[in-house]
């Protein structure tokens, strides 16, 4: 069981790197979807008591539906409708992004080994994986030009936060978890609407166009 769990964590981090290095928008969306779907497996693999099975199942299915299916579908639909060019158009190049990403992973491991984990029964890889993914998300948001890429960055960041939440799954109220997922969905939905307007207004999703306001 543990070998499987480790495998999933490693795959999540590998996907982080893939997201930073990929130049094709569709591939990036699919990678983010794959990451979301992988995360949905984690609550099941990490469940320690049979008693919390219902809660764990709900969390897993919720994550799969929101992160793995609905949001990626929404984004794919958006780029098809907007008929935008399929390249990612980075502000920071792919190689520097990868180097920064690698640095982030190293720092995440350093941070988590410096912090005593109050719950030793939990898997050691949770904290570094979570922080690496949060860092990847932040990098994607600030280093990519297209609005869609920025939304994907936000999604990846939320994936990282979700992984961290697994440390707390046995006492986090279901209502809060549901609220978090629902908020994520609503956020991407609202972002989608704004993107739709950006595309109509500027005939592009390039956020460089959004630079009229400054001091």
């Amino acid at each position: 069981m543990s070998a499987w769990t480790e495998m999933v964590f490693i795959l999540v981090v590998v996907l982080d790197f893939f997201l930073l290095a990929s130049s094709r928008l569709k591939a990036v969306i699919r990678a983010a979807a794959a990451q979301g779907a992988l995360l949905a497996v984690l609550p099941l693999l990490l469940a320690s008591h049979a008693a919390e099975l219902g809660h764990v199942l709900a969390l897993s299915v919720g994550a799969l539906v929101v992160k793995g299916v609905v949001i990626p579908w929404l984004l794919l639909w958006a780029i098809r409708e907007a008929a935008i060019r399929r390249e990612v158009e980075p502000i920071v190049g792919f190689i520097p992004s990868l180097i920064l990403g690698g640095l982030g992973v190293a720092l995440a491991f350093a941070f988590s080994s410096a912090m005593p984990l109050p719950t030793p029964e939990k898997h050691d890889f949770i904290v570094p994986t979570a922080l690496s993914t949060v860092w990847t998300g932040l990098l994607l948001v600030v280093s990519r030009r297209k609005a869609v890429s920025q939304v994907i960055g936000f999604l990846v960041l939320e994936n990282g936060v979700f992984v961290f939440g697994l440390l707390l799954s046995d006492f986090m109220p279901t209502m809060v978890e549901a609220g978090v997922l629902l908020d994520l969905f609503a956020a991407v939905f609202v972002m989608g609407i704004v993107m739709f307007h950006i595309n109509r207004e500027f005939s592009s999703l390039d956020t460089e166009k959004l630079s009229a306001l400054k001091d």
Binding site: P118, T119, V134, L157, L167, V176, G179, D183, D215
Partner: protein, 474 residues
């Protein structure tokens, strides 16, 4: 307690479903009045905790909730006049979004559970972002996108910080809970490295929501492009509930014995916000963006007061009320000026006192109040923060605070006087957008309340501020 949360939501549903463009603003008014009534009942009856302790009307909520509710009610009256003048714009999303915002803000102030608090804060972002785009211009679109993205990122980091705090209490013997009461009772049992890390992330997250420097980048754009009503509610309401969130986090840090670290960070970021606001306020050519920097400044004052603790924290509680109401005056009158001149550039707008005999002078009075001139309320709250700083022996902090306040007074004054005084002849004009009862009355009323708070502060209110300050470990 559920009434004040659910009534606005129900009316929001009515607004989204209702077909009538002309009658929809009435739903806004109804929601505001019901909410204000409900809050008044709560204030008097002081019910105990509800929903298993998740919601409670603690002293901080007793301060911020009535302020937000009153501000919202005044804005709802103003919106009746404002939306009547903009019949061309579909107001479905606008009215519905504002009512959802009211409900979300109520949950934030009442929430004693850090998870629920987070969900509600995120909802305040989502319900207001589409409203910034009310004017449907490229510039307002840009502002909405920036606001949505920056605040969502900040809020995501705040969630991580919330999880850190939860983890801090997850060890053997820890509370394993995100209820404020459980966490503060656990005290030293919380793992202090995780509390510290959690505080950093939460300060960044909720600091973004409040618009503290250097996390304020969304603020000038959003306030500059949003309608005046929304600006008033963002700068008086949403940022104030962001402050509530930060105060709750500080409560946990103080209980865990991490107060010195957290307080120093708050004082630092508060002074930085004031400094940055001073820099950008001087020579600002756009009077709505100027108000945004004023909001950055006042959020800095609030965190500074919170960080200093004691008498200063009590002053910060008072200042939350003063700032919220005065920002209402400023944004509503600025909206009137903008509408009447069709411009918000200082180069175009002059002689507002003559063209708009109520809004013009009110804009000036609002400026005097917000910069801390006697006898308005903010003078007393800003003064007690200074007193707290000097009384605590923080001479350098006190001196910097005074210096920034005076620079801002001069910088903001130059812009405001240019707008209000002079001869309006030759300035651009949009006919039929002069003062009316519905658009000039509401800010006038708010101004009167701000003046009253300066002239006469009931003893009960003063002790409420002290009680709220004591909760954050003042």
């Amino acid at each position: 307690m559920f009434f004040v949360i659910l009534a606005p939501l129900a009316l929001a549903a009515v607004a989204f479903a209702g077909p009538s463009q002309a009658r929809r603003p009435l739903a806004l008014l109804a929601g505001a009045v019901l909410h204000l009534g409900g809050v008044a009942v709560l204030w008097v009856t002081r019910p105990g905790p509800a929903l298993g302790g998740w919601l409670e009307l603690d002293p901080l909520a007793r301060i911020v909730l009535p302020m937000t509710s009153a501000l919202f009610c005044v804005c709802a009256v103003y919106a009746q006049g404002y939306l009547k003048r903009r019949p061309d714009r579909d107001n479905r999303v606008f009215v519905g979004g504002l009512l959802v915002l009211l409900s979300a803000m109520t949950v934030v102030t009442l929430s004693q559970h850090l998870g629920l608090l987070w969900v509600a804060i995120e909802l305040t972002t989502l319900s207001t972002a589409p409203l910034i785009y009310f004017d449907k211009t490229a510039r307002s679109l840009e502002a909405a996108w920036k606001y949505l993205l920056v605040c969502s990122l900040g809020i995501a980091l705040a969630l991580l910080g919330t999880f850190f705090l939860a983890l801090a209490g997850a060890g053997p013997g820890g509370p394993r809970s995100l209820l404020l009461g459980d966490l503060t009772r656990a005290g030293a049992a919380l793992s202090s490295p995780w509390v510290r890390a959690g505080f950093v992330f939460l300060l960044v997250g909720y600091g973004t929501k409040m618009g503290l420097a250097p996390l304020h980048s969304w603020k000038p754009d959003a306030y500059g492009e949003a309608p005046g009503v929304l600006g008033a509610l963002l700068s008086g309401g949403v940022t104030s509930v962001g402050f509530v969130a930060l105060a709750r986090v500080l409560q946990v840090c103080s209980a865990a014995g991490e107060a010195p670290f957290a307080r120093d960070a708050l004082v630092g970021i508060g002074l930085l916000s004031m400094a940055l606001a001073a820099v950008f306020m001087i020579g600002q050519r756009d009077f709505k963006r100027m108000l945004a920097y004023s909001s950055v400044e006042h959020m800095g004052i609030l965190t500074l007061g919170l960080g200093l603790g004691g008498a200063a924290a009590s002053g910060a509680m008072f200042h939350t009320v003063n700032n919220g109401l005065t920002k209402g005056v400023l944004f509503l009158t600025a909206g009137n000026l903008h509408r009447s001149y069709g411009s918000k550039r200082v180069d175009d707008v002059r002689g507002a006192a003559r063209r708009l005999p109520v809004s013009g002078p009110l804009f000036l009075a609002g400026f005097l109040a917000v910069t801390g001139s006697p006898p308005f309320g903010p003078f007393f709250s800003e003064f007690s923060i200074l007193n707290g700083a000097l009384g605590g022996g923080r001479w350098v902090v006190g001196a910097l605070y005074l210096a920034f306040l005076s620079i801002i007074f001069v910088g903001m004054g130059a812009t405001v006087l240019k707008v209000v005084l002079g001869d309006p002849a030759g300035a651009p004009e949009v006919k039929a957008h002069g003062d009316s009862w519905l658009t000039a009355g509401p800010p006038l009323f708010l101004m009167a309340v701000v003046l009253l708070l300066g002239l006469f502060l009931p003893r009960e209110l003063a002790s409420l501020f002290d009680a709220a300050a004591a909760r954050v470990g003042g």
